[in-house]
Subunit: 352 residues, 2 copies
């Protein structure tokens, strides 16, 4: 299903159409329509069964002017189904929205879209300023507080942020747990582990490992709750670390999921050096990220995510496999490898 | 070229991927990247020839943190070319961006993207409020003035708006001039004609017609300048009308391009009735718009544009061919027809 402006306009070499340009440039229409639908809980309400437009208007408290343009727009985007046409038609989830956008689904990925709706969409309005200044365009512009400091000050918002990250990370962590060879390792520590998701996904498939997820002290009770909910109590430990102040705990395998891209080059190198020091010979450090292709030509989402790091943090940036390899060899690692995880994500692996 | 999050993740019926959802939901990243590129004039600078990243950084006054993520992001989106990799690489326009996004090109469509960047992107941040209230989310929220009133108060901004509309309209007007049978008509009047573009495109191909473009008095000098620049002085007249206060001038063929969707139902019907009264038997009224398919399932851009009318005006809305037909038959027209123009646009034709 494409957000197509045009199926029928012929594309000639001598007289190309601007449809691709307009499709991308006006793509925020479709994007924000979906973000508002997630915010309003359309897909969660439809988990109870098909609904008429009128019933949805009531349940979502929509204005009558807006109801059908909103719902039929979602149908045309392939994000809702509709049985019948006209006033008696009933709207339904698609298999995909039922699985991924119903808040009651264990596969809910809407957290990242809720965050995009509340924060990133409006902050990206200042992209041009970010491109000109190299400075973040988030809450910090208004109240001077770095985003992580603010997040970590309020456990409820912190957990919301972590759920958002987990929703988008889970498929990558599952792919890593399925594709990587864990047999050489006895112990696994995930640094910056948030809810313990990466350590839990690995432990679930590789119970021979001793597993731990480390993050700031405020995160520990959140991680313990999630680990328990996953039925992995006693199998995944929740540890405390301030990865700026503390050395990493020793382990055969050290992972970081979507952490390195949050920091500038000096901090990236500092974290890689700490991983190196904590590993034995033959140990491995793995960063799971939207690793950009070396030629910086293919991984749209990785490059867009790096611009998002500019918006969020200024100096922080996403990187290529070649960048990762150069930093790790400089830190003393003996060789590196990039393991694609499907979609824009890869595991960047450095062997000591 | 797709804004793809994932080529390689397998899609299984039993275990679908959320890539389509994430691609649409995070699509504002790509959208705003292009809008900022148009704002900064990337494509206009590259009209003079390929440039290194460093040269573009200087010319566009980019911060070094941002330069390569921005430019390589545009490469990955298919919106720039790049000869070579690394620091010596030179960025180029694509055939499509050279034609449509260089401000010096006669085919420039960036006006609509400039307007989207400056106005629509930030206003769409309030889509949820629009869905709940049915109220516009534009300048009127902040200063109480309707957008058209404000635009028409300042000729420079008015002309900028008209250029934006012309950029996106020109292909539709050319398609209409090429596909519609003008042989039964001797006179053509375009109502709400702005720069005179629709009347000019028709006159250029059908010189047997007497042609005129009518709009508010403030628009007349702008239209006369554009008509002269198109070499059609003396062949397309620029007339004055307030289509709320005045009857339409009599003509065999009356057109309105992207006008009806700007108004609520009562005003749409008022305008259709005025067209009817101004036509002879056998005359035709034509509305060129992003006519939505009758089932409201296919024309994504038409439905999104209708949500944009909600954001811009509140009550205004886009409509289906069936809607248009019902209103025109009610006004006395004898039959209607929808002529697809390529892309999301059609000509809706009503015969008296």
């Amino acid at each position: 299903m494409s957000v197509s402006l045009a199926e029928s306009r012929p594309v000639l070499e001598a007289d190309p159409s601007p449809d691709q340009i307009l499709q991308i440039g006006m793509g925020f229409f479709a994007s924000k329509t979906l973000l508002s639908a997630v915010e309003l809980g359309v897909f969660t309400i439809l988990a109870d069964g098909p609904q008429t437009g009128e019933a949805l208007e009531q349940a979502l408290r929509l204005h009558p002017r807006a109801t059908y343009d909103f719902l039929d727009g979602l149908v045309a985007l392939g994000l809702l189904g509709r049985r019948g046409d006209g006033a008696e038609a009933r709207y339904t989830n698609t298999p995909s929205t039922a699985r991924f956008l119903d808040r009651g689904s264990p596969h809910y990925v809407g957290g990242i879209l809720e965050m995009a709706n509340a924060r990133l969409y409006p902050f990206w309005a200042d992209l041009t300023e970010a491109l000109r200044t190299g400075k973040p365009q988030t809450e910090i512009k208004h109240n001077g507080k770095p985003v992580f400091e603010e997040l970590y000050a309020e456990p409820a918002r912190l957990e919301q942020f972590m759920d958002a990250m987990a929703g988008i990370g889970v498929l990558n962590f599952e792919a890593f747990a399925g594709k990587f060879d864990f047999s050489p390792f006895k112990s696994h520590v995930d640094i910056g582990g948030a809810t313990g998701l990466l350590a839990s996904k690995v432990q679930a498939r590789h119970p021979h490992l001793s597993s731990a997820s480390f993050d700031l002290p405020v995160v520990r009770p959140i991680a313990e709750r999630h680990i328990k909910a996953a039925g992995l109590e006693g199998r995944v430990a929740a540890g405390e670390i301030d990865f700026f102040a503390d050395e990493f705990p020793k382990a055969d395998l050290i992972t970081m999921g979507m952490i390195l891209h949050d920091w500038n080059l000096a901090n990236k190198k500092m974290l890689i050096a700490k991983a190196y020091r904590a590993l034995p010979e033959g140990g491995a450090f793995v960063a799971i990220e939207n690793i950009i292709d070396d030629a910086r030509r293919e991984n749209v989402f990785g490059l867009m995510m790096s611009l998002n790091m500019l918006i969020e943090f200024g100096e922080a940036f996403d990187f290529t496999g070649a960048d990762f390899t150069a930093w790790c060899l400089e830190a003393g690692f003996s060789r590196c490898e990039i393991l694609p995880l499907g979609g824009p994500a890869s595991a960047a692996i450095a062997w000591k």
